[in-house]
Symmetry: D2
Subunit: 304 residues, 4 copies
Amino acid sequence: MKKLTLKDQKCFYYVLSAKNEPTLTIEPGETVIVETEDAFSGQIRKPGDRRNLETAPEGNPESGPIYIEGAEKGDTLVVDIIDIKPTIGQGATRIPSWWWYLGTPGSEALEKFLNVKLPHGTRICPIKDNKVYFSEKIVIPYEPFIGTIGTALEFDATLDPGPNGGNMDQPEVKPGNRLYLPVFVEGALLHVGDVHATQGDGELCGVAIEMPAETTMKIDLIKGKRIRWPRVESPEHIMVITSSGIGRSLEDATRIGFIELILWMEEEYGFTRWDAYSLCTQVAKTQLGNFWTMAVKMPKKYLS
Amino acid sequence: MKKLTLKDQKCFYYVLSAKNEPTLTIEPGETVIVETEDAFSGQIRKPGDRRNLETAPEGNPESGPIYIEGAEKGDTLVVDIIDIKPTIGQGATRIPSWWWYLGTPGSEALEKFLNVKLPHGTRICPIKDNKVYFSEKIVIPYEPFIGTIGTALEFDATLDPGPNGGNMDQPEVKPGNRLYLPVFVEGALLHVGDVHATQGDGELCGVAIEMPAETTMKIDLIKGKRIRWPRVESPEHIMVITSSGIGRSLEDATRIGFIELILWMEEEYGFTRWDAYSLCTQVAKTQLGNFWTMAVKMPKKYLS
Amino acid sequence: MKKLTLKDQKCFYYVLSAKNEPTLTIEPGETVIVETEDAFSGQIRKPGDRRNLETAPEGNPESGPIYIEGAEKGDTLVVDIIDIKPTIGQGATRIPSWWWYLGTPGSEALEKFLNVKLPHGTRICPIKDNKVYFSEKIVIPYEPFIGTIGTALEFDATLDPGPNGGNMDQPEVKPGNRLYLPVFVEGALLHVGDVHATQGDGELCGVAIEMPAETTMKIDLIKGKRIRWPRVESPEHIMVITSSGIGRSLEDATRIGFIELILWMEEEYGFTRWDAYSLCTQVAKTQLGNFWTMAVKMPKKYLS
Amino acid sequence: MKKLTLKDQKCFYYVLSAKNEPTLTIEPGETVIVETEDAFSGQIRKPGDRRNLETAPEGNPESGPIYIEGAEKGDTLVVDIIDIKPTIGQGATRIPSWWWYLGTPGSEALEKFLNVKLPHGTRICPIKDNKVYFSEKIVIPYEPFIGTIGTALEFDATLDPGPNGGNMDQPEVKPGNRLYLPVFVEGALLHVGDVHATQGDGELCGVAIEMPAETTMKIDLIKGKRIRWPRVESPEHIMVITSSGIGRSLEDATRIGFIELILWMEEEYGFTRWDAYSLCTQVAKTQLGNFWTMAVKMPKKYLS
């Protein structure tokens, strides 16, 4: 089994760019282990640690990209997430961008306007026996997932969530589930990073339990099948993950997710469009990832 | 046990108005059974039935209001939902307002603009043995809840979801759960209607499995305690239900829900504000009711 | 010319309800003068004055409703605004709800959360010679308009902006312009109040230069013509005024405004739909009223 | 005067990347002429022309970047737009993405869902004597501006509007006005493209009157002054341009614009924060660029 270690990685990437140099090349169908740094670039390991923006100005360092042989624009990448292990037995969180979430976007200006200071809230959380120790008293199940995973777009290069994946922070991108991503460039260029030991819906303060991790994934390819937004298949659901963005409200994102889900049900599960539409109304589930990504889910038990 | 039947009701109400004449008066602590008509005003009982807007121009007829003795502005109503039974053994759904949801709001004009006609999609769904028969093949668990429930506001009179409850379409307003509603007027004036046999998150097409029902509720009062938005307590969660509205985006609604949840954790569960904030980030759940109400939930296991 | 004075009014209305008792009845085509109280219920007349929510819990007291003989559901009311005069030679403003606008909706909870106090910012502004004296140094042109004007809806009763008008805070509802409002109930029941001496786009803090006023309007009726949202005709533009609301983002409101404008151009000005669509793209104007109403405008010079 | 011609440009850029190779280097204070291709990559010159996405998959080709000597992160670029000339005497428009704007975002899926086809709407518009000939009958003033202009970000590379400028489509970025842009990377790397002969607020269908152009600009630098979002100074207004985006609704963008405007008034014009806040409420103007950028303006006459 191939392994992409942090040492192999040499440098991390902070955007999903078509120009990023692959650090691993695989054939479709291979299983790989990918080591990833945490979203803080490893700078927060003890309670007193603070982010140093001089040495690591951006968050969410990405491992990869992984070049998948034969992948071309118009194909679909299939990523089976098999396992996610913490590599240092702990995760960390803090309160970095309070205003962005609860106050209003525009963090810095609003903080200045209001003269309000928030606590740093740094917290080191040991992880063991499938538990995350938020505090001595509060113990959370270890439910790890990949916060940022995506293929490179042809032109744009950001981490923003979008049709190619990106910083989706969706708890369903987890072991046991299968992620489908559209391929836009030769080799697909799969980036992986920002693993969370657990996270609540909305990722309210913007920082989950961030941890360096070792993720085992089987990566395969469907030739000639094009999808428009990331899809996930879990044992219980099929789902589409969309995001808000310029000119696209959270409601718009949710609408798009439902349209895609309905067309999926029509194409692959034999539903008429309007039956699928009506059934979604009665049984669909939705899940906010961070404040700008929405997963729209159909229970599989209604599909067969 | 007091019972408010459809016959007692004489006329239904379509807005939560302080001027609506009570049809039942109770003491705090009483358990009542409330019969409600379905959201279609009972006009859709067979597959070929259509809504007649001449005889019933509005949807969601409300039973009540129930006058709670001693309730005054600034109090909180406590509604334990005990049981919801279908009264005619079936529910119904249809596709009434497609554009509003998936196309874009502004239904009528957009339909005209596009010259697109959608099917009526009327569907009668038998309910028995705790199952809803969406079709011969598709059977959905019977998970009933109250779609519209709310106290009267002092001034405004609509069914819109807001601080007083209203058309929240939140599946958590269900048997086994406790709903808290602020009291704004003398007697609280609790309205109940629009019961759903089941519903998916988002209530995509705008119409769930609508059914006439008999709901058993215990209604109590907390004097002198004021809350700002509806709250729900389930065996697993405490939660706040908010809604979008004029000048309040869906993200804003979600932010408000989180603020209220955090203040609740601070006031009643001994959390510091910032610990609550950080914990919400890691373990909170959210649930879209219809496209404009959001429930923000904290698992109770982290509260003790 | 009929005049509806504050004395005639006896009581004010705070919602546009079909149940409000008319205080004036007119024939279509009549010109009337309507006296209105300011949005503060007249409680802020000197710099030290503060709102007393005990004696006047709601803002925006409405004069009327005016019953227009012969008006029925499906008609359109035509209101030519002829003149607006300040009645006490001054207006007032303050900073009442800061958080709602700049911080985030949810004013009270967020203020509590942040422990931030904002100044009351009360300011009495003399009005003379067509000027508003914001301060000794800052003098603003007197550009008065009606902040809240609307017909009664059949069922709902609020001041919220919507298809029937309401609290639109749109500076184009001003002398020299013609407002079209849909009629929903017999007599139309036109309410008028909340006159502003001037206002910026967005009405940032939520309170313009509020003044008691005397407004001269000619009120006419178009039988059998139905519109879906308020329209305004100025010497330069035709325009549609829409608002955000539950399930309707500000972008959705703007989209609806454009659809309505295009259909209007098609129906009354001989454009094909797609030419109108393309022309809107090149020459339309938009104006934010308060943060939740949008006027979408087509210059008349392109219509003939 | 230096001139950057299309020939000099060799290749165009489609994102504002820090990695783009400068095609012109200047000293602060120099005046330059920049030739730009139109947003269609020059593929629509006759009525029957259509976009060929094989040969030019992206829109809005950018000229530059221009490297400004001495510019460093934390500085502010000052761009005086002096003149914009059409280079081929015509512009073009079409209806490319109808659903995105009026229907709902998610163009392709929704079109599929609805089976609705829109006309291409291609239109060649001669430009002469300061007029744009939309049709034989409809003549629009020539009011050109730069649709896309921005500095490179350190990490991300897109054309999306944001703190660095980008595809703002704001009509105020026009001759006679001064644009301020934050500098994020050495040399600033100013990109210019996507010039419009005119455009309505909202740019409804997503395509204005697009034209190849020759723009004369004086480019200067303020060392050590950092701004957070693009600013514009016109003879009449100072203004801030913000945009919606992931987690940032259009209302949020507008709020940020107002906060920035108020802080600007405080820092440079001697206002107290709360006076500025109150004055914005009374006299500010807002302008929608495309559906996701908002300019928030303060008339200069109130600043002295």
